[in-house]
Subunit: 329 residues, 2 copies
């Protein structure tokens, strides 16, 4: 597959170097690592919020490093958990007596990594807590649910809480609450292809789509014929809405997330139907985020995330932040 | 081709409705039109900056409507100039005694539209000037050069100047200066497909790319085999740099623009090589913008824009703006 890269084995290093140089007023690359930290890090007097995972999900996670969101983001190889050394480097650089919150997507590799890093943090006398995001309702078994695009909303509220100078327990509690109120599901119109691979992660014919895809090129839980946008949105909502459940009178933040290869035009069409359906059910959209937040390389498709809001979460979403991929005035 | 839309003939209406609803704190749809205006429009006491063109280039142009950038954006059908009635509606709504600047991409249909609208403005006693953007160096003949991604930087500096309360002539002069200092060229790794069409705008084999593409699915000026990102960047720069020329000691803004189907990962790899080459030639990057600004539906590829800066342009790029697709604090 054609990609604008130099070599598969260099793609993450080149990308991180490009990100750090493009946004040098906001972020920097920690030398000798694949860790992006705030330009003004280490920031004292606050809890450090650290996240990360495999690459291929850009702008996640490094694009969300900056005041009001993450203090550091770890980047593994494409679709692979970051190395422990990088987690320790981030911990040493950003950790302080206020403590560290790890925001972890629910994958075995990522959980193992952050568990080991937590043990090291305790040895280093850095208070640490972890919150695991498992927002993907495509998987019935709650324990096996993957962490997908909704993770970015957890970054936002945890980052805002930390920016307000709140304690580690308070930052953890908000992040944990958000994970409980968060649901996501995705649809692929086309697969992704890993750098260096000659074949896509799955094959769809001209009329087929995958419902309930993950962010690592996995096929979905169901294969169907392409439907109008409104029907696609209905398919997603019929899994998301009863799961929490979201009901009339709720206020929500919604994220219509592009998977990497989907034009903004289509994401807005999807949002238009989403807004219409939610409003007809008495569910009020407090904030809408439309664009690429958590991608899967060049996959074509989108995911829809709903986060049920209370007054605290609304205030935290409104809190200012300044990162390469998310600026809130 | 699979798209997340309801029907080809509804795609622009659905999209604009979705944009207006998603960003209702910033923008609104002018009833009975395909014109997006600032939520707080009409804004008195300043020049109104109006742009627009065919749809399929999202976030351009409606995504750049807001304080510090555009007052109104017209959206035609996909790849087609907007209707005159919409230009007149925007003019009537936003025009005032301070005048209107039209920012026009250099296409026959768009120029004709804004010429007719200018005549109407004069009849309505609204002072009006137009600036034509023709930044695409792929075309040798300067008069035939297309307006492409660099147009967004013209929106930014003209919008900032208008936001500062400067006169129509002053806003025009800055916008015109920017067009003279602006150069862009694009490369496609894959074609786009129009909504409702069963075939792409051109066909490339597994190893082929198009160099010097436009934003309407046109094939480029040259077809080659895929190259490493660094070579792709060199191909673009060997057309852009001598054209102005950009030389050692210059300060520039760069825009690495995704064409709609290209993941951010690849845009950062491209920027990494771009920064390396420019810095080796003594050209200093003052600001870098990486992402989707002026797309061509689901085309895979990117364009590179360089804008040579002076102190005034630097100040205007730094000026705050708040739009759906560009927030500058």
């Amino acid at each position: 597959m054609k990609k604008a890269i130099n070599a598969p084995e260099r793609v993450v290093v080149d990308m991180l170097s490009g990100m750090a140089k493009a946004h040098s007023r906001l972020i920097k690359l920690l030398p000798g690592t694949q860790v992006i930290v705030r330009n003004d890090a280490p920031v004292s007097g606050k809890v450090a919020v650290i996240s990360g995972g495999g690459s291929g999900h850009e702008p996640a996670h490094a694009g969300f490093v900056g005041k009001g969101m993450l203090d550091a983001a770890l980047a593994g190889s494409v679709f692979a958990a970051p190395p422990l050394e990088d987690a320790l480097a981030a911990l040493k650089y950003c950790g302080n007596e206020n403590g560290v919150l790890f925001v972890v997507k629910n994958y075995t590799g990522d959980r193992l990594l952050f568990d080991m890093a937590s043990e090291e943090a305790q040895r280093m006398d850095i208070p640490v807590r972890s919150v695991v995001v498992a927002d993907d309702v495509a998987i019935e078994d709650v324990a096996r649910r993957r962490g997908v695009a909704g993770t970015v909303l957890v970054h936002k509220v945890a980052g805002a809480m930390a920016d307000l100078g709140r304690s580690l327990d308070e930052v953890y509690e908000v992040a944990h609450k958000a994970t409980l109120l968060l649901r996501t599901m995705g649809i692929a119109l086309g697969p992704c292809t890993l750098p260096g691979s000659q074949s896509p992660s799955f094959v769809l014919d001209k009329e087929e789509i995958e419902i309930g895809i993950g962010i690592h090129g996995e096929a979905g839980i169901q294969r169907e014929r392409i439907l109008p946008a409104r029907k696609l949105v209905e398919r997603v909502l019929e899994k998301i809405l009863p799961d929490l459940p979201f009901t009339s009178g709720d206020e929500v933040a919604v994220l219509v997330n592009g998977m990497g290869g989907t034009p903004l035009m289509e994401l807005y069409v999807v949002f238009n139907d989403l807004e219409d359906i939610l409003s007809s059910q008495g569910i009020k959209i407090y904030k809408a985020y439309i664009g690429e937040y958590m991608t899967s390389l060049d996959m074509s498709g989108f995911s829809i995330t709903l986060l049920k809001l209370d007054e605290q979460l609304k205030t935290l979403l409104d809190h200012p932040c300044q990162t390469p991929a998310w600026t809130q005035m």
